[in-house]
Amino acid sequence: MRAMIVAVLALVFAAALTLTVGVRDGGFALLFQALTAFDPTDPAHIAIQSIRMPRLIAGLIAGAALGMAGTIMQAITRNPLADPGILGINAGAAFAVVIGSLIAGRADNGLMAALAFPGAAAAAIAVFALGGGLKGDAGPVRLTLAGVALSAMLLSFVSAIILARNEALEVFRFWVTGSLAQAGMRPLGYMAIAAVLGAGLAIAIAPRIEALSLGSALARGLGTNPGRIQLGALVAVTALTGAAVGVAGPIAFLGLLVPRLARRVGGHVLRRELIAAAILGATILLFADTIGRILIPPAEIRVGTMTALIGAPIFIWMARRLRAGAGA
């Protein structure tokens, strides 16, 4: 419980930094003013409300959604190294964005977000079907193999296209690392709804996912239907990751890293873990975004790069600490 309170305080701090760092040196006093006594003639207030606020909301959606999606993935595959990428979600989104913007002949943020979501969903559904999910016998290993294979295939298509077409390369280059910077121009509302629906579904079926993580035989003995749980988990993960990808583009490592930390905070009760993962995911993403903004001013390091820069070393440290042969 104490860890949860610390996490919430860290999130509030991270949100405040997102709103204020880099805006005229007014610090938190300025933020307080802008929020409580908004002055439409003060450019700093306008910057906070119209540029920083969407950025904060995008960060909250993407961070919380990725944290929760990763937590479900690791519970359902019983693989501590699983993340939403394993379902082919990032590859599917990349494929849809590159193909879609080529066909449409334009590549604005709204279009890319609108393409990313169905791309991610289609890939996830394909992986579930290929992994045997439609017959209700998708095991963790089959799902993982199907996801890795489909991702490799989609990304090879993407490579083939961007090597042949310059304009596609531009789109891809811009899109391949996630960013919160253009949040104001993306359909935040729809993505927020998708994320909330996904989160609600995840929380609702969490006890069943817990049963499934004991193995499918015992799960069935406990009165659950493994096929249906997997389908529910897939829908939740797709909605969550689709929302995150739509809001911020692909963001590396967050879905992999956060679940482990969330377990420390939430223990082995999946509902608590999910809530902790949402808080921690948003916190880490917002911190990473702020650090990326202040590291080499006036240039900005995209948050997708920052999470990988920060996440990869932590991940290696975690992998080294995993006992050999230890399961999830």
């Binding site: 519970a75 019983r78 501590p80 609702a204 079926i205 006890p207 069943r208 817990e210 049963a211 993580s213 004991l214 193995g215 035989a217 015992l218 069935r220 003995g221 406990l222 009165g223 659950t224 239907n225 377990r263 223990g267 082995h268 009760v269 230890a326 399961g327 999830a328």
Partner: protein, 262 residues
């Protein structure tokens, strides 16, 4: 809570196969309500297959299974899970989970989609932990326990499920003799105190004879015998079932049959 109604499990003309291979052929058996029945037999004779069919984990090609007269294959999944629990062989716990968190998962069939943890849930978990003697270790991660304690934690999970019928697939495998006796004793305790119907796949014939009311001996060619330990563990049946030449003498302590291989 005592389970007073009829909780007998009945297999009727059960035929189970994997692909072309028939493992169980037209088997009819009664597992009496409130009694302990052990399923014995050599490796590969279909003991576990039979147990899994009794718990609806596999669907038989032919025949039916009835629990207290109700066909389990047409029952609601959750309703069945409130009446029948199964502990499959060698279950694997999520890494780092505590004993209490593992045992709590046994309450799954009693919980609604959004319903909170109830007092009945807490009481069932507490009782199960007490029955297996792990109350003091309930906050310990399960991977830090000894093999015997770990198996008791798994049994506590199905005890917390609080069903009038309990199926166990080789619950004593990998345990030393002391812990085997410990595990079977606590299962029998639940059986005696609450009239729970117990069906167990077991390897140790002498322990089966000591702890179980009824034995079922399966051989390579189907059922060899079913009945009391005295009726089932005969020299002839052991030859038919296991191809084992053995002497059967009374156990010097309990008087139940004891198998001594020649």
């Amino acid at each position: 809570m005592t389970h007073s109604n009829d909780n007998a499990l009945k297999a009727e003309n059960l035929t189970i196969g994997y692909g072309e291979r028939t493992v169980i052929d037209n088997l009819s058996l009664n597992f009496p309500s409130g009694r302990m029945t052990a399923i014995l037999g050599p490796n590969g004779c279909g003991k576990s297959t039979l147990l899994r069919a009794l718990a609806r984990l596999i669907t038989p090609a032919k025949g039916s299974v009835r629990l207290g007269g109700d066909d389990i294959f047409s029952m609601d999944t959750r309703a069945l899970a409130r009446r029948l629990a199964i502990l499959p062989q060698a279950s694997k716990a999520p890494e780092g989970i505590t004993v209490a968190d593992l045992v709590r998962r046994g309450r799954t069939p009693w919980r609604g989609l959004f319903s909170a943890w109830s007092e009945a849930d807490a009481a069932a978990v507490e009782r199960a932990l007490k029955e297996v003697g792990l109350t003091d270790m309930s906050e310990r991660p399960i991977d830090q326990l000894s093999g015997g304690q770990r198996q008791r934690a798994w049994i506590a999970l199905v005890l917390a499920q609080d069903t009038p019928c309990l199926l166990l697939d080789e619950p004593t495998t990998w345990l030393d003799l002391t812990h085997q006796i410990e595990v079977l004793s606590l299962v029998r305790e639940r059986n005696r105190s609450q009239g729970v119907t117990v069906v167990t796949v077991l390897h140790d014939l002498n322990l089966a004879a000591r702890f179980y009311d009824t034995l079922v001996l399966l051989g390579p060619n189907g059922m060899v015998a079913a009945g009391s330990p005295q009726d089932v563990l005969t020299e002839e049946n052991l030859t038919t079932g296991f191809g084992l030449s053995a002497m059967v003498v009374p156990d010097p302590i309990t008087g139940t049959p004891m198998v001594v291989p020649r």
